[in-house]
């Protein structure tokens, strides 16, 4: 396809925890799988994450958290995407979650949750199957014009 471009993924670490082993391993695996990857580094607020996602014109945000603060930060990212008319950017999550939180996060709009033990190949396959480049995303990856 002439218009096919690489998926652009933002790997992001919301909250104050520094457990970045998983985020960095997954970021590297995404890059090796041929996706374009931006990684925020640790200690990002939901506001910073959404702003980076829009600026970098990504198709997917992968949130990684191990602090237990996901009940606040995950839904907040979804909410901010809506406020910025960017709800077509999909969001997935990885990390440690109490079992009862997982359906709640999915209801809030998180497309998939990957728990410890998920294989890199599984995550890549899920992304390849479920996420495609957004229609209005510029091929060059430049930021969309905003009001």
């Amino acid at each position: 396809m002439a218009n096919a471009r690489k998926l652009r993924i933002l790997v992001a670490k919301p909250g104050l925890d520094g457990h970045d082993r998983g985020a960095r391993v997954v970021a590297r695996a995404f890059r090796d799988a041929g996706f374009e990857v931006v990684y925020t580094g640790c200690h990002q607020t939901p506001e910073q994450i959404v702003s980076t996602a829009i600026q970098e014109d990504v198709d997917l945000i992968g949130l990684s958290i191990l602090s237990g603060a996901h009940r606040y930060s995950f839904p907040r990212v979804i909410e901010l995407l809506k406020e910025n008319n960017a709800e077509d950017i999909s969001v997935i999550g990885g990390g440690i979650f109490p079992m009862e939180d997982i359906p709640r996060l999915k209801e809030a709009g998180i497309k998939e949750i990957f728990e410890p033990g998920a294989k890199l190949g599984e995550i890549i396959e899920w992304v390849g199957t479920n996420i495609s480049p957004r229609m209005d995303a510029d091929e060059s990856g430049s930021a969309r014009v905003s009001g």
């Binding site: 790997v11 909250g15 104050l16 925890d17 520094g18 457990h19 970045d20 082993r21 985020a23 960095r24 391993v25 970021a27 590297r28 695996a29 890059r31 990857v37 990684y39 925020t40 580094g41 640790c42 200690h43 607020t45 602090s67 237990g68 603060a69 996901h70 009940r71 606040y72 930060s73 440690i96 109490p98 079992m99 728990e115 410890p116 033990g117 294989k119 890199l120 190949g121």
Partner: protein, 566 residues
């Protein structure tokens, strides 16, 4: 060593019979081949099928092994080890607010724990009060929320601070929390000269691995040196730094990387304190270390034995230490959080037992055993009790504490200990060439070495080359543990209100004066007259919150952001 234990002719015989055995071994493998194409440790260090005196033939017994309590301390830092006293059973605890954690401290003490260890929540670890917008959703989740001197008082209520030693896992804000601890202890009538404990205070490994980031490296080192200087003069029983490999390992390093980077961080702290004008033998005896005990049993024991020998040699040869206490690698150990699995979590008790046993055979001075539910959350009371009991069973039932360094002299253990030291020395040379740890961190060198190792390990797991039971072999669904701890989201609001009330009560003029003095010292050149610690003790007494002190640091010294490389 082979030559010191066996005669030349006996060694010749070993060599001959070893060759014969190897031939037999190869023949047998033609019928039933080896289970794996390559045998290696969890760090992927290749392991031979058999070790003999030939593997330690050229090593000197006295230089390399020797006796416990004697240089180079391979066999232990004390002459008596666990024959006289067990290690300190120090369970890392912190949950919710100060009252919740105080209750847990008393519970653990009442069940036989012998030292305290405080886990702070992420806002506290990062130098923010609970009220900070950056702290939303985090209060009390991964540890206890401490904003003020009053919180510190409630945290240690009804605990004798001259009898128990307290470890506080806190890094960039370590000086502030230590000031609160001292101010609270003095308020309770204890003498700072008699306080014993540890602040982690290891800023370098934050850049390398744990990522509790606040200030750039240079001012971070200045604050660490201030605490070393203050401890040396004012709080002589306190370990001012716990130089930590634990987090480096959790971030995915190999055992050798953990050993080498941590020891090099130690070298850097010693150099900084010497630059400040302290003599090595004045302060080095209060430096302590912190190792991870991962799942590969022998690798961990060898790492711990090598760490003692390497540190003793460095202190003597590189820094000219003369007091034996300056050469002692005294260390705390925590079993490896990253080895636990959320699948079939009860198996974590078995993993933790193996890892704790390795720490004991490695000669640890204190130990935290992870709880089986720590893979989900900070531990519940039930799970913490099993973890504490694990240590007590090892100490008092298993018999392993009857003898000092029981694995000393085993060909494999000695050869692996030598290998660990050799490879760590190669990293130390490389770091010297790079111009030291700060320069190496700025070049992302240790960070990327660890990232490479972490990625390699994950690939081995995914390919089934390394086994994790319940995850990539005998795979199993995650059951719901009935006792996973839940932290009420409501405590965030209560904590914010409590700190607000505390701030309203303080004397504004006294507070301002104390903060002005703290600023003056931070802005001045590093020296005893500008040491932040006395000013911090005054500031927290005058009602300064943790964040107010840390904001002042951020204002004077600037901030550091994670570069986000992968």
């Amino acid at each position: 060593m082979g030559k010191q234990v066996l005669s030349e002719s006996a060694l010749d015989r070993v060599e001959k019979e070893h060759a014969e055995w190897l031939e037999e071994y190869r023949k047998a493998l033609k019928k039933v081949p080896e289970r794996l194409s390559r045998f290696s440790t969890v760090s992927d260090l290749e392991i031979k099928p058999l070790y003999t005196p030939l593997d330690i033939e050229n090593k000197d017994f006295f230089d390399n092994v020797g006796f416990p309590g004697k240089y180079p301390y391979t066999r232990g830092v004390q002459s008596t080890m666990y024959r006289a006293r067990h290690w300190t059973m120090r369970m890392f605890a912190g949950l919710g607010n100060a009252d919740d954690t105080n209750e847990r401290f008393h519970y653990l003490i009442n069940h036989g724990e012998t030292g305290l260890s405080t886990a702070f929540d992420f806002p506290t670890l990062m130098g923010y009060d609970t009220a900070s917008p950056l702290a939303r959703g985090e209060c009390g989740k991964c540890g206890v929320a401490i904003d003020t001197l009053e919180d510190m008082g409630r945290l240690f209520a009804d605990i004798n601070l001259e009898e128990v030693t307290t470890s506080m896992t806190i890094n960039p804000p370590a000086s502030v929390m230590w000031a609160m601890y001292i101010a609270n202890a003095e308020k309770e009538g204890y003498s700072r000269k008699k306080l014993g404990g540890t602040i982690q205070n290891d800023c370098l490994k934050e850049f390398i691995a744990q990522k509790t980031l606040m200030l750039p490296p240079e001012p971070s080192l200045r604050l660490v040196t201030d605490t070393v200087e203050f401890g040396t003069r004012e709080v002589p029983r306190w370990n001012t730094i716990s130089i930590s490999g634990y987090h480096i390992r959790e971030a995915g390093s190999t055992a050798v990387q953990e050993l080498a980077f941590t020891i090099y961080d130690g070298i850097t702290y010693v150099e900084e304190a010497v630059k400040r004008g302290l003599k090595v033998d004045e302060f080095a005896g209060r430096l302590s270390f912190f190792w991870n005990s991962h799942i590969d049993f022998f690798e961990e024991i060898a790492k711990m034995r090598a760490s003692r020998r390497l540190w003793a040699r460095l202190m003597k040869e590189r820094f000219g230490a003369q007091d034996p206490r300056s050469m002692l690698m005294r260390f705390h150990t925590q079993t490896a959080g990253c080895s636990l699995t959320s699948q079939e979590p009860y198996n974590n008790v078995v993993r933790t037992t193996m890892e704790a046993l390795a720490a004991v055979l490695g000669g640890t001075q204190s130990l935290h055993t992870n709880s089986l539910d720590e893979v989900y959350m900070i531990p519940s009371e039930q799970a913490a009790l099993i973890a504490l009991r694990t240590q007590q069973i090892i100490a008092e039932e298993s018999g392993v504490t009857n003898v000092i360094d029981p694995l000393g002299g085993a060909y494999f253990i000695e050869a692996l200990t030598d290998k660990m030291e050799e490879e760590a020395v190669a990293y130390i040379r490389k770091l010297d060439e790079l111009g030291g740890m700060v320069a190496a961190i700025e070049r992302d060198y240790p960070q990327m070495e660890i990232a490479d190792a972490a990625f390699h390990f994950q690939q081995q797991i995914d390919a089934g080359e390394k086994t994790v039971i319940g995850v990539n072999k005998y795979a199993s669904e995650r059951p719901d543990l009935e006792f996973v701890l839940k932290i009420d989201d409501e405590i965030e609001r209560q904590q914010i209100e409590r700190t607000e009330r505390f701030k309203e009560k303080r004397d504004k003029a006294g507070f301002q004066k104390a903060m002005d003095e703290l600023r003056r010292r931070c802005e001045g050149p590093p020296c005893w007259e500008n040491n932040v610690m006395p000013a911090l003790v005054d500031a927290v007494r005058a009602g300064a919150t943790e964040q107010e002190c840390c904001d002042l640091y951020r204002d004077v010294f600037g901030t550091y952001r994670d570069p986000g490389t992968f």
